[in-house]
């Protein structure tokens, strides 16, 4: 993995989050299942937004959060995702580049606007997300940067994009470009319901293009249509070079050929908000993996980042995770 300009390059839905505190009744009135994540059309996003109280805006997106975590650890990342040449697009680009993450994708002129995610935070600290993808839904093979992908040790794909055919084609093209340059390809399944909608295509992707797979229990069981984690685990071991299966407070299981690592979760004094736990596990694991740490150490770094992010509101690290990891690995 020498001569790589980047440790990781990610492809994801570029979204600006609009965080709003609401009462439970708001979810009931809008028929939104608490804790859910749903995709809606612009008109639905706009009409819901009209009913909400004042909020705050910040750059987000699952893969964007992972790249933020990687950058916070000192890893060198790049990000591919589609925004428009509007103010939210400027905010997204600014925040990525300000963190030291390269962003080679050109903004689309005009069009449907940069995507946004309405994040409804209820008093019990749960987050219900309503996403209008905007420009992100126009992601096609033309938006990938082959030279950037080939300059990264690992390509990281956000499963959420897999809802659209053009984005599926872009994933395949990106994976082939990475492999042609001797790089590795990783995928986060992102969402059990997304897996349900595209099971065959996901299985094909995982079996033929993915080296490193990230999934939680629900997602991996959905992929292999089983209720039994052990059954899913055996199937995943067969399909990927490395499978990273996360299990919330039960830690993670890392499988690679005959290697099996059962890694304990990092202790957390108080779980405040679980958003971003999977994104940050991937960030920590990929940081370790691309720095030459072994699989168990990489999973431990992933667990440290996940524990940090669930200790506060928001899906990106807020403390000095670089020092935290150095201290905890040293200990």
């Amino acid at each position: 993995m020498a001569n790589a300009r980047y440790d990781v390059i990610g492809i994801g839905n570029a979204l600006v989050d609009i965080l709003v505190e609401v009462e439970d009744t708001t979810l009931v009135e809008a028929s939104l299942p608490k804790g859910g994540m749903m995709l809606v059309e612009r008109s639905d996003s706009d009409s819901l937004y009209k009913t909400l109280p004042a909020g705050i805006e910040k750059s987000g997106g699952s893969c964007g959060n992972t790249m933020a975590g990687l950058a916070a650890l000192g890893g060198k990342g790049a990000y591919i995702g589609k925004v428009c040449d509007d103010q939210f697009g400027d905010v997204f680009r600014h925040d990525m580049t300000a963190m030291g993450v390269d962003f080679p994708t050109a903004a689309a002129a005009g069009g449907p606007g940069t995507g946004k995610c309405l994040v409804l935070v209820t008093p019990d600290a749960q987050r219900t997300m309503v996403t209008y993808l905007g420009a992100a839904s126009d992601f096609t093979p033309q938006d990938i940067s082959v030279s950037a992908i080939q300059a990264a040790k690992v390509l990281y794909l956000e499963g959420y994009l897999f809802d659209r055919d053009a984005a599926k084609a872009a994933f395949i093209a990106s994976a082939e470009a990475a492999h042609a340059a001797g790089r590795e390809v990783s995928l986060s399944l992102s969402d059990g319901f997304c897996v349900d909608r595209h099971r065959d295509a996901f299985l094909d992707l995982v079996r033929n293009h993915i080296d490193i797979l990230f999934a939680n229990e629900h997602e991996i069981c959905s992929l292999y249509q089983t209720d039994d984690f052990d059954t899913a685990l055996i199937a995943a071991k067969k399909d990927c070079k490395v499978a990273c299966l996360t299990r919330s407070e039960k830690g993670s299981v890392i499988l690679s050929g005959e290697e099996v690592h059962v890694v304990q979760a990092q202790a957390v004094a108080k779980v405040v908000d679980t958003t971003g736990a999977g994104d940050q596990f991937a960030a920590g694991f990929l940081y370790g993996y691309t720095q030459g740490y072994d699989l168990a150490q990489s999973a431990k770094i992933g667990g440290i980042l996940a524990a940090e992010v669930i200790s506060h509101y928001g899906a990106r690290p807020e403390t000095d995770v670089k020092s935290l990891v150095e201290t905890m690995l040293g200990a």
Copy 2:
């Protein structure tokens, strides 16, 4: 003051705040005086933004903060200010209307974009603000809504707009429209340096169009070119029906004809961030004034809101100030 649809209608610079945590060195490198508030061109705003870390965005603006405070108390407000038909314009409009504040000004199509304020927060919790006015700087007499102004008990003008001739003309036209309907007109001087730049025009405005004047010690001394607060106080008493002079931890002095009220500041356990103290004093005072409280009670409500806002980061109330005021006035 019967038959008014609104308690207060405000005219201000409509801005979206971009809050960014920076080190002191960032201020030094950009030659920005800590705690200062400066207006810059778009190119300067853009080039500074490029150097900054990731931030969060929220609706702001001095008068916008005052209207947020009024709405939090249960007052009925309206806001006049210029945004563009872009995403920050949507955010600003959404937040005002979500708080129950009417926003009759149409968004400008195209143009320089909705204004933004880069709020640089240093580790000592001080805020240094760099504002690009964008669409707000195009405010002209055509942007005022005479019917809305005449439907409000009190018109509230944000002094920051007074840097531009077209906005000055809009202030005069608005004040005349309000007075023609038997309404009252109030003004916040906003900034001692702005007063310095336009002293004669401010004096003319105060003497001929303003019923209720809000100013802190620095601003009122700047207006009357004196170092002596008592001298400024006597001059203000002569020029306005009501002068509300705020003195930070020394409380406020309210003058009206022969009436003088020296109102103690509300106790604050810990001052976290003084941004918005003046905006919230005006919100509380105008709420009390338009609900028929006497001047001393109105000033006390202003002090309660100012104390609340300096107890936390941010320029708008975060606790239930309506209950707080009811409890404290009852006591």
